[in-house]
Symmetry: C2
Subunit: 336 residues, 2 copies
């Protein structure tokens, strides 16, 4: 592969002139410029970004660590992030941690070794060591989808989202509600549940412990919804802390011949595309993925270019999307 030296020789100029021509910071005469360009074309010369990075001490790369790219919520976030990063001239190093704390740690260190200019992380679990590692490095790190104490982080207002879910159900007249809680140890899920229960409590409704099921954030948890419908006095509405769980519940309920929303209202969180496609489509608390991604990349880029202070972050407002899976409690009139 041709180097700058080869180009200089072919064009009959000095190495420095080629560099100047390429970087445009120091001007070169039109005559030399065209000679250089011709040599570049002839040799098919391409700058070596690695060598350039070594000198400039800037790699123009960003690392992205997330738990599972097959989760459509993370995939969409990754898409948005890659786009804005690319538009800003950065390449994305993609790391799928597979919900594995050790792997995640190794990926983080690897990113540091590669001198990534910054790292975006959606950590895998509360046992993650990344918040700790982030506080020990000088590399810019932004946490996404979870709020991390003392570290820059960008997340939805999960508490508010939880409240929105509860308020929607209350307005529809539901007073006996259940919940499916996936990955309850993760702070964002806790915030959703706090918002949900507090809003219920304010209207005198309590979420009874036997009406709450805990588990991993997956379809299997949703399918356990039957444990709720088999209760003596089954709930008339169910809140799932994320759409995947809600979809698992949807599937099980339909299979059991249960009508949604006539027999039971179902409400999710995230606004994954698939929820829209169900029949009936899933009512959900939508996270603004574009805003999440935009804020995260902007914050990260500011962090290492403008030397912004660490510890700042952004909270993105969620939005209730009322679709077909929730309706007024049976027997309830139209009056509030």
């Amino acid at each position: 592969m041709a180097t700058m030296k080869d180009v200089a020789k072919a064009a009959g100029v000095s190495l420095g002139s080629v560099s100047h021509y390429l970087n445009g910071r120091v001007s070169v005469s039109p005559a030399k410029a065209s000679q250089i360009q011709r040599a570049i074309n002839e040799l098919g010369y391409r700058v070596d970004q690695g060598a350039r990075s070594l000198r400039r001490k800037q790699t123009q790369t960003i690392g992205l660590i997330l738990p599972n790219i097959s989760n459509p919520f993370y995939a969409e976030l990754a898409r948005v992030i890659e786009h804005s990063l690319w538009d800003e001239g950065f390449q994305t190093f993609f790391c799928d941690s597979a919900h594995d704390v050790a792997r995640e740690r190794a990926q983080f260190m690897n990113l540091l070794d590669r001198r990534a200019d910054g790292i975006l992380v959606i950590y895998s679990s509360e046992r993650s060591v990344l918040p700790q590692l982030a506080s020990e490095t000088t590399t810019a790190v932004v946490f996404l989808d979870r709020s991390v104490e003392g570290q820059p982080s960008v997340a939805s207002d999960n508490y508010l989202g939880g409240r929105m879910a509860a308020e929607h159900l209350l307005e529809l007249g539901h007073t006996c509600v259940g919940a499916l809680v996936g990955d309850a140890e993760i702070t964002n899920i806790q915030e959703r549940m706090t918002g949900f229960t507090e809003a219920l409590a304010e209207r005198g409704v309590t979420l009874e412990p036997e009406y709450v099921l805990y588990g991993a954030q997956d379809l299997a948890l949703g399918e356990r919804v039957v444990e709720l419908t088999h209760l003596l006095s089954p709930p008339t509405a169910i809140f799932a802390t994320n759409d995947i769980v809600a979809i698992g519940a949807w599937r099980k309920l339909i299979e059991q011949g249960c009508r949604i929303p006539e027999d039971i209202s179902l409400l999710g969180f995230d606004n994954v595309e698939m929820g829209r496609l169900l029949v009936p489509p899933l009512t959900t608390v939508a996270q603004d993925i574009s805003a999440l991604g935009a804020h995260a990349t902007e914050l990260l880029l500011n962090l290492f270019s403008n030397q912004l202070t660490k510890g700042r972050g952004a909270i993105v407002a969620p939005q209730l999307l009322v679709r077909g899976s929730t309706t007024r409690k049976r027997g309830e009139g139209e009056s509030m």
Copy 2:
């Protein structure tokens, strides 16, 4: 950040010894080794992979270009690939081309500039210039999910998959069938349709032009399924060339009060997770994503490490997954 030079000074040894210790190819005395290790710990030294790459002329990075990470089929493929690459000591540069030929081209060149050891590509459309660019570079490139003439490529046996779909429908007694064809210009889709129509033809069934709808590979195409059901003699079974399209059709049919599979059988291709979750679950021709990913990474790694010849590739067998969305044609007996 500490450099090797700093470590050498702190340990009281030469720069070379530190390098030797780190790389383990030249042995150092136990005494020096422990001094060096101590210095490394004290300084929190981490090797600079960029500098190492410049010397070794190997970056241990692979580029992955795909049209849209939000497509669950590509997401799953990306997941599998990132995993095997990581296990082999490679980092993945992720590029989402957004189905944009110009963008895809820029990403490819960028990967070349970064001296990625290899590039894995699922190109965006038949107008893609990547097959051409790949033939002009010495960097290892493997095409995925599409067969490219004269270039190493890994794909499913789409022709066979198309045949499987047709044979399944024929065995169920369907003789009046329709098809929803997404992205018809892409070779893999053409192969699916060729297999499908040929297998039908062998049993004397023809796929009439008015029973075939063309469009982009998305939900909207699926929703146009009503154009088929409104025909005077509507098809009793429909083949969608991929699951996303099939899901769009599923949704529309259910909405219209059409019963699946009693009124109409529906068959997809890919085996996206969501298909399994519908009620009834979608019968589909499954692509073996793990095998696709494993073959692709293995081929790519061989290409630049073992200097294998270009032009080789792999074909992965698909598998018919009979689920609830297809059934025997109404009025047909159990006999074949």
